[in-house]
């Protein structure tokens, strides 16, 4: 697995690791209205040949509805070409995923 991209702003950092057709996106910081735009841009362009997309939220401290929109869009795309998982979500993030029903339709794992 190799790190092929790292982008960072003051409040969010994205590292992408590619291993054949598996892409792991490790995110740090906050996924809010502003940074979700960056996240979508950074990932959407790289998943054409991916059949396993993993979002590692181990160092994510906050997600807003804008993040949910990104995950839903990615999930929709990946449903047609493989699978998508969200891992290492802390309890606050899990609260959001649970109340919105995302845990019912996505493969989401608590830290």
């Amino acid at each position: 697995m190799r790190l092929f991209l790292k982008t960072a702003s003051k409040i969010m950092e994205i590292k992408k690791f590619l291993n054949d057709a598996k892409l792991t996106v490790k995110i740090s910081g906050r996924i809010d209205t502003n940074t979700s735009i960056q996240l979508k841009k950074e990932v959407m362009g790289d998943i054409e040949d991916i059949n396993n997309l993993i979002f590692d939220l181990d160092e994510v401290t906050y997600i807003s509805s804008a993040a949910l929109r990104v995950f839903l869009a990615m999930g929709n795309t990946m449903q047609q070409q493989g699978k998508m998982s969200i891992i290492n979500a802390n309890s606050d993030l899990m609260d959001v995923f649970k109340v919105t029903g995302f845990t019912e339709i996505m493969d989401i794992h608590e830290k």
Binding site: D32, T33, N34, Y62, S64, S65, L68, R69, L72, A73, G75, N76, Q79, D92, D95, V96, V99, T100, G101, F102, E104, I105, M106
Partner: protein, 139 residues
């Protein structure tokens, strides 16, 4: 105790300042750390909506106050933009469908994480305004 309005310009570059002010106020009156994330999430949805959609004019005021009422932390958000009740937004399905339109989660989360959310279109400081009031238990 109810406080005075804080007035900001509703533009994207002010969002962090607006958020930090309400979080600081909430911390000062003793809102628990566990509740701060929920508070911030709901607050972001409402304020970003105002910033994004309320105005098509250069004058873009948004008025905010946060204070304790008994054991509840109450946030009031006012704008003088076009009349809009965010609570009228269509219900999203539960559980969602993977291929559904991705919108609608903002207000949904506000309703989930705040125990009370009310909207009125009424005069605030002599001008008709969208007035949203949200409360959650502070501890």
């Amino acid at each position: 105790m109810e406080t005075l309005w804080k007035r900001y310009e509703a533009v994207p570059e002010n969002y962090d300042i607006i958020r930090d002010d309400i979080i600081e106020t909430a911390k000062k009156v003793g809102v628990s750390t566990a509740k701060l994330t929920k508070l911030e999430l709901g607050f972001e949805e409402i304020v970003v909506n105002v910033i994004s959609y309320a105005y098509d004019t250069e004058n873009r005021p948004i008025l905010i106050k946060g204070y304790l009422v008994g054991d509840k932390f109450r946030i009031e958000v006012v704008d003088y933009g076009r009349q809009y009740n965010p609570l009228d937004a269509p219900q999203i399905p539960y559980p969602p469908k993977i291929n559904q339109p991705p919108g609608g989660y903002g207000v949904f989360l506000v309703k989930q994480f705040f125990e009370s959310v009310t909207y009125e279109y009424e005069e605030i400081e002599g001008i008709l305004a969208n007035h949203l009031t949200m409360e959650l238990t502070a501890k």
